[in-house]
Every structure is written in structure tokens, then in C-alpha cells.
């Protein structure tokens, strides 16, 4: 299983501020997923990126896949309390059906 390092582990910001979460690896992935998980619920898939250098936008969320497909970032603009949750990145390789998960970033947006 390939290692994904996610940072920061915790992030607490005021409503309206911006934030960025990073996901880094020394391994190449064929795909990179970002999930958000709220307390007591399962992770919800936000986006999948598959092409090096790819940028995807989902309302106030911007996801980027590194050119070498080893790293990714999630940027939230003007965060809202509804963005609070555990953000997980997960990388897939075409060798098997498993995902390698980052340790997660707990984001708290204060009203």
C-alpha cells in the first residue's frame, strides 16, 4: 500500500476565511479522490482527479492534482460552517482495487 501524507491534521478557521489541505506521496497514483465525512456518517465522495495537472472546481472548492500525479490539494474559498468535517484524500493505483488513505484533516469553521 502506498503512503499518503495529509496536512495539516487539524484546521480551525473563522467563517469567510480560506483554507488549503495538502496530500503528498512519493508514489504515483492513477487517480486521487477527496472525501468529506461528517460525524456519525460515511465519507462522501467530493471529486476524483485522474490527469496530472488537472484542476476541478465544485462551487467554493478547488481540487488540483499535481503534474506528476503524486500530490493533490483542496482549497476552500470563503469557508462556511457547513464545510466543517473530516477531509480525506485517497489514492488509487491500477494494480489493485484498494485505495491508500491519508490520515485525514479535521476542519472546523467557526461562525
Amino acid at each position: 500500500t502506498q503512503l499518503l501524507e495529509q496536512s495539516p491534521q487539524f484546521l480551525s478557521i473563522q467563517e469567510g476565511e480560506n483554507l488549503t489541505v495538502y496530500c503528498n506521496s512519493s508514489s504515483v497514483f492513477s487517480s486521487l479522490q477527496w472525501y468529506r465525512q461528517e460525524p456519525g456518517e460515511g465519507p462522501v465522495l467530493l471529486v476524483t482527479v485522474v490527469t496530472g495537472g488537472e484542476v476541478k472546481k465544485l462551487k467554493r472548492l478547488t481540487f488540483q492534482f499535481g503534474d506528476a500525479r503524486k500530490d493533490s490539494s483542496l482549497h476552500i474559498t470563503a469557508a462556511q460552517p457547513g464545510d466543517t468535517g473530516l477531509y480525506l484524500c485517497a489514492g488509487g493505483a491500477q494494480v489493485d482495487y484498494k485505495l491508500s488513505f491519508g490520515a485525514g484533516t479535521t476542519v472546523t469553521v467557526r461562525a
Binding site: 465519507p43 482495487y97 485525514g104
Partner: protein, 113 residues
């Protein structure tokens, strides 16, 4: 809507008393997974099925077993739950593309008394 369903959402069992958690999917996906997740940590893969082909993780305790009677259903059996098995159990599915996205159910929170 196509989805992954887990029942029950909350399960309380006694130390050593067998328990079964269930998962069903309407996505018609080939692969089904069971994960264990503890307090805001990343999910830990226990095992997965590609169709009926069972794949166990090397560090999954023998106490955990699984059954997949058909494409739609998958069960997690915990034969003798210990206090350390209290966790959120997540079921997920994915299509036939290796390394593809996984879709999670809402989870079952297991409490062991």
C-alpha cells in the same frame, strides 16, 4: 437513487456475543469493501470482494469474517466482539476499474458492552 445502504446504523452488543452487520448496494458494482474506522482516523480496510473472489487484509483479525451471497449484499460477521472492536464500520463499493473511486454507505456504529 443508486446508493449503498447499511443496517443497522447503530448496534449494541455484549462482549463475546456474535454480531452481523449488513450492507446492500443498488449501484451494481463488482467490488464491495468493509472498513473499520475509529475516532476521526482514516478508514482501515478489513477485506474486499471482487464479485465472489474474497480478499483478506493480512492484519485483519480472524474474529472478522465476511459473506457475499450475491452482487447486492455483503455481510460482516464479528464472531466474538471485544471492547477494542467498538468502532464505525463502513461498507463501500466500486466498479470494475482498478484504482477507481469508492462509494461509501452511512456506516454502522458498533458499541461493545
Amino acid at each position: 437513487d443508486a446508493m449503498v445502504i447499511q443496517n443497522p446504523r447503530y448496534q449494541v452488543t455484549q462482549f463475546g456475543k456474535p454480531v452481523t452487520l449488513s450492507c446492500s448496494q443498488t449501484l451494481n458494482h463488482n467490488v464491495m469493501y468493509w472498513y473499520q474506522q475509529k475516532s476521526s482516523q482514516a478508514p482501515k480496510l478489513l477485506f474486499h470482494y471482487y464479485d465472489k473472489d474474497f480478499n483478506n487484509e493480512a492484519d485483519t483479525p480472524d474474529n472478522f469474517q465476511s459473506r457475499r451471497p450475491n452482487t447486492s449484499f455483503c455481510f460482516l460477521d464479528i464472531r466474538s466482539p471485544g471492547l477494542g472492536d467498538a468502532a464505525m464500520y463502513l461498507c463501500a463499493t466500486s466498479g470494475s476499474l482498478a484504482g477507481g473511486s469508492q462509494y461509501f454507505g452511512p456506516g454502522t456504529r458498533l458499541l461493545v458492552l
